[in-house]
């Protein structure tokens, strides 16, 4: 399965990439929500998005709303991976269509568990 990692930190992207590759994913990356929407247009077979909340240009919450407004992306699971821990924000993201939420800091095991909780079978 193909996954997109959306985070403005290159270090976080590369850490998540290592974890996803270990779980059998092919990955692509984006530095903000707008770039991610462009990548989606080029990669209709993406099945998973890991997305940060705080990013320049377009934040993760706006990205989720934009993706969920387009029913052709209903199949894609979205997991927020963020330092945000406000319940209000968490509820807003879940209501907007996020499938799961991971709070930084996290381990590879946490990412694997949350991907499984979102309904994706991993190796």
């Amino acid at each position: 399965m193909k996954a997109i990692i959306i985070d403005d930190s290159r270090a976080v992207r590369s850490m998540l990439k290592r974890m996803l590759v270990g779980l059998g994913f092919e990955t692509t990356e984006a530095g903000d929500g707008q770039q991610a929407l462009d990548r989606l247009a080029e990669n209709p077979d993406l099945g998973l998005a890991l997305v940060d909340w705080n990013m320049p240009v377009m934040n993760g919450y706006e990205f989720i709303k934009a993706v969920r407004a387009d029913s052709s992306w209903n199949h894609m699971k979205i997991i927020m991976v963020t330092t945000e821990t406000e319940i209000v924000k968490m509820m807003a993201a879940l209501n907007a269509g996020a499938d799961e939420w991971v709070m930084k800091p996290f381990t590879a095991e946490v990412i694997a568990e949350k991907i499984r909780l979102s309904g994706i079978k991993t190796i």
Binding site: T85, M90, M91, E100, W101, T107, V110, E113, R116, L117
Partner: protein, 282 residues
Amino acid sequence: MSISPADFEFMRRFVLERSAIVLDESKQYLVETRLETLLRTEGSSESPSTLIAKLRAAPTGALADKVVDAMTTNETSFFRDLHPFDALRRDVLPELIQRNAADRSLSIWCGAASSGQEPFTIAMTILEGFPQIAGWKLKFVATDISHEMLARCREGRYSQLEVNRGLPAPLLVKYFDRDGLHWRIKDSLRRMVEFRELNLVGSWPMLPALDIVFLRNVLIYFDAPTKQKIFARIHKAMKPDGYLFLGAAESTLGYSEAFERAKVGATHCFRPRATVSSPSGS
């Protein structure tokens, strides 16, 4: 710093006598790391060997209790292994709720509560899937040998990493409140579970006739005769049509004739046999 073979042998005997938990040769690392963690928590700069020397001089008392606590704590997470909770939601609870509809009661025992994730996972599974039992007589007892773990359970307070592990985000926002850098279980959920101290090899307090027993990933620490005794006691405490959940790698096979393995959803559990043949034939 590693401990000597004589110290490890003393710790094995000490833990066996105090908790009946068997530490095999491969557990030396576990003994060292758990003792080092305990010393750090206590703000002590002593070595594990010095701690063991104190324990030899005073094998009972507050220090001994703390060491037993440290040695018997197990790693756990919310919805650990997932399948037993799916089986509860899809098969076990619907059946029991139908069967117990007349007296509107349900009794559950979680026998190795550790830091509380398992009993609270069961409680969330009930609240999410079966709101109709709100007016029922629910007797939900969770026990553990460790005082420190029971205090944690009663407090219901978890670190960010702990709530990240296995807990679906919709349930986190529904059943937890932020508490600084931690998360605290809401009172409505915490009040569903009664936490009590119980040593599986000591005397057992009165338990209600049990519909559901969870005793996962703890029997692996006991030797065969102890397992036989524990299974016999569980059988006595269970309703004839109850459900016993053990860890994925655990079984009653070879230790008890009183249970039979039953497949439930993607997992299996153990159910009391209708009739048990006596091994002596008498």
